[in-house]
Symmetry: C2
């Protein structure tokens, strides 16, 4: 049984999930959040499903050790992977972003942009199908993450890149899923290019799903003060520059090292060479 | 004492270093090479110096265990970091790409492009200064790596991005250092935009430096057949797709897991939380 006043664990490959954390804090102002940015392995979108699963499992194990009352996968790539292959031995309820995002779609003609792994996984197509809708257009847009992380959302190059990726978007599309937690930072640019298209992202829908669960299970905190503690597996200084550049004000992230003994178990796989270095 | 017939270890954060491996194979057709792409942590350019040093040390430790006769750091970011803080406890001679690249510069008015970490390190400016030259213009160009890895070098968006980054290049510049091993794959595009500028990259200069060392120390192989074995710390399928997209024909890379006990030593750093996950 999880404690009501336990923290909620939130993770992403990097900074993008802060868009989800922000929505979670707005919806649940009294909860305590632990956010892990797996910046050492960022971006997830180009790494392939198996590796993303391993990274996600390591972080979930950390959260489980810290007895969080819920885990929010604030990353579309990890969500896509975990929908196909769930986390193992995790007792806390796990919330991914794809199901609530798809549930919030109102339109009938839906497109999606995301990382190569997210789009390649077909997770959005499948989730939309299960919701009785179809995915009529989808595109992997890998350069949008480095664009955002370089702080170029207001530079003319942002529109050039968006036009490049959206060039063949059918004009019948009425809803575009921003299938990466970085993309809400480009929402203004995309809306300007597509004034008649409804843009849907994961942040508010996911926060609403988590809130509904906590209310329904009577697990809303009673005593803790709302706060968020940020960790990064990468360089804390680099991460803090990034989040400041993007206008987030969560306070400084600290460095976190996750050591995976799971990697050692690969020793018996003949296709894998393993060495422990001194 | 290293064996003449031992392999040469070559590493990069990902696929870019294959441009250096190709030049090494051309210069040293009888040598055996082991190439490690640290794709699990790719790209290095956005990760910060401390982390890049840790990643590089782990790989160098692996090479040391395998008794390579030389280590080639086929990555500008890692080279920049290791010039400032050398690898520890490595007996094999280590070749970075910055020194030979700078030595091959003939012009007097030099510019450089590279990752944020490479440019931010000032390594090229320092190396040029030591060679009696100056670095008159330098720019971090983070989106060029995902551009190459997306296979867009022949797409019009490549020229748009290059024009964006090179917009303020002074017209007095006669030499531009392509300070990232991915950038030779954009050499044609850049040369077309800058027909009067000499483009300098790491591949041939580094291969020549390694060859000169092996000749001078009488360490050229006598018996081994030329070959290259590729490993990736990331997803082998993803890596092999990338190298095939870029036109490399080295054969399939295998998955390699590097476990670092060095990470555990961070346990005593009060700013670092460490957990071993099951």
């Amino acid at each position: 049984m999880h404690r009501k006043n336990a923290p909620i664990g939130v993770f992403d490959s990097g900074m993008g999930g802060l868009t989800v954390l922000k929505a979670l804090q707005e919806a649940l102002p009294h909860e305590e959040f632990i956010y892990i940015a797996d910046s050492a392995h960022s971006p997830y979108g180009t790494k392939g499903a198996e590796l993303v699963h391993q990274f996600s499992q390591n972080i979930a194990n950390y959260f489980e050790c810290h007895q969080v009352k819920a885990i929010v996968v604030a990353c579309n790539t990890a969500s896509a992977v975990l929908k196909q292959q769930p986390l193992q031995n995790i007792e806390a309820p796990v919330f991914e972003v794809i199901t609530p995002t798809v549930k919030s779609v109102q339109g009938q003609h839906v497109g999606a942009i995301g990382t190569a792994t997210t789009i390649g996984s077909g997770a959005y197509a499948k989730a939309l199908q299960e919701a009785g809708k179809g995915l009529e257009w989808a595109k992997a847009t890998p350069m949008l993450v480095p664009l955002v992380e370089e702080g170029l959302t207001t530079d003319p190059i942002a529109d050039v890149l968006l036009k490049h990726y959206l060039a063949d978007l059918p004009n019948t599309i009425d809803t575009l899923i921003l299938g990466c937690t970085h993309y809400p930072m480009l929402k203004g640019n995309i809306q300007k290019l597509l004034p008649n298209v409804t843009l849907v992202d994961a942040a508010d829908a996911t926060a609403a799903a988590v809130k509904a669960f906590l209310v329904n299970t009577q697990m809303l905190t009673e005593t803790t003060q709302g706060k968020a503690t940020l960790f990064t597996t990468g360089d804390a200084k680099v991460f803090n520059q990034l989040q400041s550049l993007a206008g987030f004000t969560f306070g400084h992230a600290k460095k976190l090292d996750l050591i995976s003994e799971a990697e050692l178990s690969n020793e018996h796989d003949s296709n894998v060479a393993v060495i422990a270095t001194a």
